[in-house]
């Protein structure tokens, strides 16, 4: 059975008055979308769940700043992308610190090599290696190209929806996507040479 889409205008008004039941309705309606966007960026269930919760806490506190220029879903997707990028920066800082403090194992004095935390539940086992190469290359793209590729290819959003989220027109999005693909080909070509 398909779930009916709630009245977002009504929910917005209710949440701005502090109604947690309205927030729950919004959560149930958009949780999967937010979770998958976050998962695309962090590629780890626990981290994506953390971001999902952060996003809805932020939505609850700052819904009064939502002007209605775009759809509520678009606004929340933007928050999700920003939260995901902040989370990645935070994790990188933490990793750098951990690397400095625990580069050597206390017991043996040997250098520790941290394993990758790539654990995207939407990637089937036989595609895991390929997806990992792809995501590593995506991470090296310039910010806007990366976001365009993530929304169109990984999230499989429509051009209109992705353009609205990135606050650009569809023509600019097409051009970003073109450059993203060209750069990914170059990056993957280098990876292939190193294999």
């Amino acid at each position: 059975m398909t779930q009916l889409q709630p009245d977002y205008t009504l929910l917005t008004a209710q949440i701005s008055k502090g109604d947690e039941h309205a927030l729950e309705k919004l959560f149930l309606s958009l949780k999967d979308s937010v979770f998958n966007v976050a998962l695309g960026y962090v590629r780890n269930t626990e981290d994506a769940e953390e971001i999902l919760q952060d996003v809805f806490v932020e939505v609850f506190h700052s819904i009064s700043t939502f002007k209605g220029d775009s759809s509520l879903k678009t606004w929340i997707t933007r928050i999700t992308i920003n939260k995901s990028l902040d989370y990645i920066k935070f994790k990188k800082r933490k990793k750098r610190f951990a690397f400095v403090t625990s580069i050597f194992s206390k017991e043996t004095g040997e250098v520790r090599i941290q394993g990758s935390d790539f654990n995207h539940p939407g990637v089937v086992m036989e595609n895991k290696e390929k997806s990992q190469y792809l995501f590593e290359a995506i991470d090296k793209l310039p910010e806007k190209q990366r976001d365009a590729f993530m929304l169109l290819k990984i999230e499989q959003m429509s051009q209109r929806e992705a353009a609205e989220i990135l606050e650009i027109n569809e023509k600019a999005l097409e051009s970003l996507m073109q450059r993203a693909k060209e750069n990914l080909r170059k990056l993957l070509s280098d990876v292939y040479e190193e294999l």
Binding site: E20, L23, E24, F27, L28, K31, D32, V34, F35, N36, L39, T45, A48, E49, L52, Q53, F56, V57, F60, H61, H120, P121, G122, V123, V124, N127, K130, S131, Y133, L134, A137, K153, I154, Q156, K181, L184, R185, L188, S189, Y192
Partner: protein, 96 residues
């Protein structure tokens, strides 16, 4: 025929299309509620009296600093004035 490298790159690029969508657990909302309440409690834990006390302390600190600076400036001015008076009265640096 496409070279092996091109086929490999295509496969990697197309692997994005095989990523399945994942459902988020409904139970995660409990975590959101707990975060909302813990934040509200944190705000409630700072009573207005403490806020006023902190503001008054800061104001007092500023006032004391200002008074100390003014006093020190006045002292310097008095000292330089009395030195000038002494120099003029006794003409200590003249050769005669």
């Amino acid at each position: 025929m496409k070279p092996v490298k091109e086929i490999w790159i295509e496969e990697i690029l197309n692997s994005a299309e095989n990523i399945q969508r994942v459902d988020a657990s409904e139970r995660l909302f409990a975590g959101i509620q707990s975060r909302l309440h813990s934040k509200v409690r944190q705000i409630e834990m700072v009573p207005a009296r403490t806020v006023w006390l902190a503001a008054a302390s800061i104001a007092l600190l500023f006032a004391l600093n200002f008074a100390a600076l003014t006093y020190s400036a006045q002292q310097k001015q008095t000292a330089s004035h009395s030195t000038a008076l002494t120099e003029n009265s006794f003409d200590i640096y003249s050769n005669s």
